[in-house]
């Protein structure tokens, strides 16, 4: 694609995991039995009225603040009018010209380059119900009928609109991944693509370097970060090929098909949508005063980028820091262990390596294990004291994770403690040296090579429990002293 540049903007929808829905008291619960978390409001029954969930508004402000947006003092809800069977009122309560948050940004890193992506706006809306299409493919075009479940109807939905500042599929993926991390770090949503609690749509156009923006197509239905990247890459190639062959890009919505690895045009609408936005008369204006705005900013947690830098600065490997921050709970545990005095690098390596591997192998989560910061601290101290070899430490860690008890108890129970007490080891060293006078002679003549052999003999004699460092030191002392 030499000479070509892609221009990409991403619209992100995040479902907030509040207790109750945006405008009614029905629970927000993934996987409930169909049509069981519904009420007059989210079913659009005649006479029902919406009342906004204060916590949802608190959370959208937190999201906006995390992107360093301006939190708008006076904002409004509007009605967006369109007919669709999964939209019970046939209008969606959303925000139009006065959203809660505007003019923010998100810094990302892709291909070793730092990019600042502008955030145009962050606004609040309500989710729709779900339709299940009665066809073998599950695609709407082939369906004879559709079934409707309104459990999702009215779940608070935050839309985050980026500026068209993204240039490559890799950057798009990095943007999406970092956005997920930020949202998760705020504790407002688990932002899981697979469950639909976060959804990314990409607006893509291509242009020859220096030209004006080209015609854009919107691509939907990407169910993983990888498919987001693939879909964008495909769409960029498609558009370039189209233009180079003398055709034009059509402004339309395209559907990404993971199986074929292609985008295809969705049924085009007969006429451009006319949503007839007007201020929602069932709701009153919102006023977010300075005190409220200040409180939101002051209450923000440490954001992932900042946290990664801080953890890396403690001596932990950058990749290890990223892994822990990505998971969030690992970084929390790390911080707690370090605050107890643990050696950062050791704990960082355990958490990002051994613990991650354990969780993956056992298909479990950190919260479901028994690992606590005190355990990490105890383990680090034991290694530091030489009471435990680093190999034994990994064994102990796995047992702690499995809930066998505290590190010291486990080490004792399984006889994993090292003998690093010089007094206790001296006799063993003496005995080995006495059994190997010729080797000792070599050492004394300045040839230190056989020292490893002697350490091995002592290890064998102690059943592997001797601290090899201490043994080596003792042998060296004996040889030079003699």
């Amino acid at each position: 694609m030499s000479g070509w540049e892609a221009v990409i903007g991403i619209e992100t929808h995040v479902e907030l995991q509040t207790e109750s829905k945006m405008f009614c008291g029905c629970p927000v619960r993934f996987g409930a039995e169909p049509n069981t978390t519904v009420c007059p409001v989210c079913l659009g029954l005649p006479g029902a009225l919406p009342v906004p969930n204060e916590e949802a508004i608190e959370r959208i402000l937190r999201i906006g603040a995390a992107f360093e947006c301006t939190l708008v003092e006076g904002s409004l809800f509007h009605r967006k009018n369109y007919f669709y069977p999964d939209l019970p009122k046939n209008y969606q309560i959303t925000q139009y010209d006065l959203p809660f948050c505007i003019d923010g940004h998100l810094d990302i890193e892709a291909d070793g380059e730092e990019v600042r992506v502008g955030i145009t706006r962050v606004h609040m809306e309500e989710d729709t119900g779900k339709s299940i299409h009665g066809s073998e493919t599950g695609r709407i075009h082939d369906a004879e009928y559709s079934l409707l479940d309104f459990n999702r109807s009215g779940v608070p939905l935050v839309e985050i609109v980026s500026e068209p500042d993204i240039r490559t599929p890799e950057q798009a993926r990095a943007y999406a991944a970092e956005l997920q991390r930020v949202v998760r770090s705020l504790g407002v949503s688990d932002a899981r693509l697979e469950e639909g609690s976060v959804r990314f749509d990409a607006n893509i156009s291509v242009r020859r370097a220096g030209d004006d923006f080209g015609t854009r197509a919107e691509v939907k239905n990407m169910n993983s970060l990888r498919s987001l990247q693939r879909a964008i890459a495909y769409e960029i190639d498609r558009q370039i090929a189209l233009i180079e062959s003398g055709s034009e890009v059509v402004q339309e919505t395209r559907h990404w098909d993971e199986g074929s690895g292609k985008t295809s045009s969705m049924r085009s609408k007969e006429e451009s949508e006319d949503y007839r936005y007007f201020q929602e008369p069932d709701l009153v204006p919102l006023h977010v005063d300075q005190t409220w705005r200040d409180r939101v900013f002051a209450g923000l947690p440490e954001l992932p980028a900042v946290r990664r830098h801080r953890i890396a600065a403690t001596g932990v490997d950058r990749q290890a820091a990223a892994v822990m921050v990505e998971a969030g709970d690992l970084a929390d545990l790390f911080d707690e262990a370090v605050s107890l005095g643990s050696e950062a690098r050791t704990v960082g390596n355990w958490l990002s390596g051994d613990v991650v591997a354990y969780l993956r192998r056992n298909e479990t989560t950190l919260a479901d294990t028994h690992l606590q910061a005190e355990h990490l601290q105890e383990l680090a101290v034991m290694v530091g004291e030489g009471a435990l070899s680093s190999t034994a430490a990994k064994d102990v860690l796995a047992r702690v994770l499995a809930g066998e008890g505290s590190p010291r108890a486990i080490a004792e129970q399984h006889d994993l403690l090292q003998i690093s007490d010089t007094g206790a080891l001296e006799a063993e060293v003496e005995a080995v040296l006495a059994d190997n006078p010729d080797v000792l002679a070599k050492l004394q003549s300045g040839d230190l090579k056989p020292i490893g052999f002697l350490v091995g003999q002592v290890m064998r004699a102690t059943g592997g429990k001797a601290d090899p460092k201490v043994v080596s030191e003792l042998i060296r002392n004996k040889a030079t002293a003699g």
Binding site: P40, L43, G44, L45, P46, G47, A48, L49, P50, V51, P52, R79, N81, F83, P85, P88, K89, N90, Y91, S146, L148, D274, R276, Y277, F278, P281, D282, L283, V284
Partner: protein, 493 residues
């Protein structure tokens, strides 16, 4: 009067507490009255005698057990059929909601039930409260009790007619542009639209959300104020519900108008107002002055444009509010090959012509390219109307005018000409745009023996002033007449 159906609410409440009558006896009398009048009037869409008798018996038992719900305890009342009632069909006068049984109660219904009021049934209305004659009901018109060839007004025509003849002692209606006051006027009873936000709209099937307000009908000012006191108050289910303390309502009924400043609305006293109506109102202005009020003329210049603004704002909001009737979750469905076709057919078949007209009008007024000229501009005119009122209330305590430019008009007279029908709301609409309280009190009969209503408007949350003047107007008018239908000589048709 010997018939219990002719008691006022306060008389009935006293009778019950004195042991002279039970709620069941009063309810039976009202049911008997309805048995006579309904065939002439068609005030009700649903009339549930059994449920009413059961509620009356429960009310009697509760009272005997010392649980007194207040003035409306055991009193048979009617609800306009755009308020949802759990387990009872609620149609809003529309075919599209035929057979719809709501799974929940409107807040006003809950409040009435909490006070042990007896709900008789659901009254007829113009479909989705759109109209001024109750002719737009999909279930046939309601007739005026004073002359059954004439309309009772609308849209709350069923409630007004029922109270006028005693097939309910009081009723609730809703008022978006005059739908309580105008039928109260045409039926010769008292009806009040409270300040916007004072009564919860939760469970009121929306017409125009920023204008709709539920309010009371009764035969006396005191009963009307008392019923309002039962239904007011903040409701967590309505975000537009007023959160402050409930203002005083019936506290100044006996105070009189001496020293009050009363403004006669200049724009509503001449052109377009029927001569007999204007004359009756003028006579009342003089009586009020004689009673010690300072009566002056006040101008509301933007009020002449209010009607135009209203007929953009209300349909625009309605076009969205009525979008939910689509054949998917409840009500009527007309089949189609696709969901889109099914929805469009259901709506075309389910909505009557006036409703379809307003949906089209509102859709147009909001659509791209026309919003600014129509809807946006109407919202600005609304601001001007509010400013007019604010300026007027610098000078006077209340404003007065006729409620309706004419008395009851013949059935069928205006159905072919929407604009002439819209003009029936010319006196009432400004209060809705402003959100202010406003009421109608019967003051006289015209030469055709049809009632004339007198409108009193007050600033937002000043219901006390409205009722203070209303009580004085009631005393000065000495309007005691009842329609012939309310007397037991009339036999079923």
């Amino acid at each position: 009067m010997s018939d219990l159906a002719d008691l006022t609410v306060s008389e009935a409440a006293s009778s019950i507490r004195r042991g002279e009558a039970t709620s069941l006896e009063i309810t039976n009398a009202v049911i008997a009255r309805a048995g006579v009048t309904e065939s002439h009037l068609h005030a009700y869409l649903t009339f549930d005698q059994d449920a009413a008798r059961a509620a009356a018996q429960a009310a009697d038992a509760a009272l005997a057990a010392g649980d007194d719900g207040g003035l409306f305890h055991g009193i048979p009342i009617a609800l306009k059929d755009n308020m949802t009632t759990r387990g009872t069909e609620t149609t809003a006068g529309s075919k599209i909601l035929s057979g719809y049984v709501p799974p929940y109660n409107a807040t006003v219904v809950r409040r009435l039930q909490d006070r042990h009021a007896v709900i008789l049934g659901k009254t007829n209305l113009d479909e989705f409260a759109m109209g001024s004659s109750t002719e737009n009901s999909a279930y046939g018109p309601t007739r005026n009790p004073w002359d059954t060839d004439r309309v009772p007004g609308g849209s709350s025509g069923g409630s007004a007619a029922a109270v006028a003849v005693g097939s309910a002692l009081a009723a609730l209606g809703s008022d978006t542009g005059g739908s309580i006051r105008q039928p109260a006027s045409l039926c010769g009873i008292v009806g009040v639209k409270p300040t916007y936000g004072l009564v919860s709209r939760y469970g009121l099937i929306a017409f125009a959300s920023s204008l709709d307000q539920i309010g009371p009908f009764a035969r006396t000012v005191g009963d009307t104020a008392a019923l309002l006191e039962v239904i007011v108050g903040h409701d967590i289910h309505d975000a537009t519900s007023y959160r402050g303390d409930v203002p005083p309502i019936s506290t100044a009924l006996e105070t009189g108008v001496a020293g009050m400043r009363i403004g006669v609305v200049k724009e509503l006293s001449g052109e377009g107002i029927d001569d007999e109506v204007a004359a009756a109102c003028r006579a009342m202005y003089e009586k009020l002055a004689a009673a010690g009020a300072e009566v002056t003329e006040v101008s509301l210049p933007a009020s002449e444009t209010a009607l135009s603004a209203y007929y953009l704002i209300a349909p625009a909001e309605a076009s969205a509010n009525l979008a939910r009737f689509d054949g998917v979750r409840y009500g009527l469905r007309v089949d189609g090959d696709t969901t889109e076709e099914m929805m469009a057919r259901t709506r075309a078949e389910g909505f009557g012509p006036e409703v379809a007209r307003r949906i089209l009008l509102g859709t147009y007024a909001l659509s791209a390219g026309y919003y600014d000229a129509f809807y946006g501009q109407a919202q600005k005119v609304r601001t001007l109307v509010r400013r007019d009122f604010a300026a007027a209330y610098e000078k006077v305590d209340v404003l007065v005018s006729p409620t309706s430019p004419t008395t009851a008009f013949p059935i069928g007279e205006r159905t072919a000409d929407p604009l002439s029908m819209y003009y029936a709301d010319v006196c009432t609409i400004a209060s809705n745009l402003a959100g202010d309280p406003s009421g109608s009190i019967p003051i006289a009969l015209d030469s055709a023996a049809l009632p004339i209503g007198f409108q009193i408007m007050a600033p937002a949350l000043h219901e006390e002033q409205l009722f203070r003047v209303a009580a004085e107007v009631e005393r000065l008018a000495e309007f005691r007449q009842r329609p012939e239908l309310a007397t037991s000589e009339v036999r079923p048709a």
